[in-house]
Point group: C2
Chain length 338, copies 2
């Protein structure tokens, strides 16, 4: 039965439009996710601008962090704020780095081996800890665009992005505010409660490992949106993940593989949701973030487009119930992971 | 110079990525906006499910409102709320109507004559006033999807949508909250201030008429996003527009025509931003909406796609400064309007 569900963190209502539902297998309307193999791959070439690298015993790089070739932000300038009448402006102060996830020309992180995905997390941890030392930065954003429809160039080499900014992004702030409100009311972390309820009902669980659970969220913004949530509470990815990298690599690989096989290799984004770097004044009080936020990863296959309704209303429409999505992805046949 | 700008209403930061800018004319990467003229047009056929119609002197309908053939919400049931553990659910109680904007098979509202566009507004006014009588409804959303990339079916007949819902959509609430905060601080309406500053500087003005101004907003979420704001303050579209329909039809047609000619007939959405129907309890206090919200129309040509960065961070990236967008659209040559 069609219904409206509220995202417990942000308060946004989602229309679960079951009457419009189609079978997941022929659900999507995606652009073909092809790569242009005629141009030379800039990520295979030896890297002269190394910022950080994870190396093997022979000294050969396995994961390398370099400056973005098309940076959105620049750290060459001083951070400056100014006004223009009623409007607020800051300059493009920040850092934009690219994490080259493998020395081999492999497009999809789903096809990397688990130890290699672990090395990518090691690079994320090292870089976010290094960037956090700059007290001007309020947030380190780690994310991936895979495939053309996800905003990537047509170069078939797995990579992700790290951005450090001097302001807290609005979508991120929305999640902190929602989680904080829940904590104030219940004295419990909302994500810890989600983990508990989801594992209890099992209906939306796609994969569960010792330390993580991957679920189709109760009120997804997009069909096939998936959250990977650690069972252990920690507000920061870079601290909370330490010791659990192997288990996270295992669950992330399995999620990406189920998406790749089940949805015919779609474009996707993932974003690591972690707390801001420093305590932040907001509405005249200091936010404490240790208890009331819980890092996690959001994976968003890009198989649908948003229409005017979503753009204007802030309602999202999900054409398949997340329970069906979870069941479909659980049943995708994958080979033994390595 | 690239910079970050803050939307004064919502507080969201937008990266104005001037270094990535291209000429507006060859800027976009759109899917072809074609219509499938082989199938019979359901909007040309005589309408048997008339809810409301604007007729000419002979009694022939000029604009007709009918139930949506693919409704997202249904008014056949009672409004019901329920919980599921920590989650909130309501049923799909609501109304979803289609406004057929012309009896002729014309695809784009930009090609309708000004008196015909006025009749569309008359239908919006009549239907939103009628729907407002149901005290269960908290919001009436009026919007248009034109073209495939904007979420429309490939039927080349101008139409728009009206949805009445029992909850206030999150994006809409975000705007009210932002406008209210500004009003509390300044004792002035934020949109009145925007109108004043934009007319003074002229840099982002695309069209100005006696009662309205169309601007490329200071911190647009999307390239070519445009706002049509009335100079007279009113929180409700259905009351505030009365007496100004002709002038609004004139400026909306000119905006849509400049978009059509200047950007090669792109898909677009527009959404009428109006206040909620009833005073609403939020954070334990009643919102008064008369002073601190100001209705307007947002027009969003769909010529770019959002990448992982936007999805995860809540930053939007605009690859052209709105000043350049306004200049480009002002210079588009259009014929005399009628």
């Amino acid at each position: 039965m069609p219904e409206l569900r509220r995202d417990p963190v942000t308060g946004r209502w989602v229309i679960i439009a079951t009457e419009r539902a189609r079978r997941p297998g022929n659900f999507f309307d995606q652009q073909s996710n092809t790569f242009d193999e005629d141009q030379e791959c800039p990520f295979c070439a030896s890297q002269e601008q190394e910022i950080y690298a994870v190396r093997d015993e022979s000294g050969a790089w396995q994961v390398m962090v370099v400056p973005s070739g098309t940076p959105l932000l620049h750290d060459s300038k001083k951070f400056k704020r100014r006004g223009h009448g009623m409007y607020d402006i800051i300059n493009d102060y920040g850092v934009h780095e690219v994490v080259i996830e493998t020395p081999t020309h492999t497009a999809n992180m789903a096809d990397l081996e688990i130890p290699q995905i672990q090395r990518v997390f090691d690079a994320y941890i090292a870089r976010s800890q290094a960037l956090a030392k700059n007290t001007k930065f309020q947030y380190v954003l780690m994310y991936k665009n895979y495939g053309w429809a996800a905003g990537s160039r047509r170069i078939g080499h797995a990579r992700s992005q790290i951005i450090a900014t001097a302001v807290i992004p609005a979508n991120v702030q929305e999640k902190f505010s929602g989680a904080k409100k829940y904590f104030e009311y219940h004295d419990r972390c909302i994500y810890c409660d989600i983990v508990r309820q989801e594992i209890e009902t099992q209906k939306r669980v796609v994969v569960e490992t010792e330390h993580f659970v991957a679920v189709a969220p109760f009120a997804p913004r997009f069909a096939f949106e998936l959250w990977i949530i650690p069972k252990n509470h920690h507000c920061y990815f870079s601290k909370g993940v330490v010791g659990y990298q192997e288990d996270l690599a295992k669950i992330l690989k399995e999620v990406l593989l189920r998406v790749k096989i089940g949805l015919d290799d779609p474009a996707y984004n993932y974003v690591i949701q972690t707390a801001p770097l420093h305590k932040t004044k907001k509405d005249n009080r200091w936010l404490t973030l240790e208890e009331d936020f819980h890092w996690h990863i959001e994976v968003m296959p890009r198989i649908t487009k948003t229409a005017g309704f979503e753009k204007g209303s802030g309602f999202h429409i999900c054409s398949l119930p997340p329970e069906d999505i979870a069941e479909y992805l659980r049943e995708v046949e994958i080979e033994c992971l390595s």
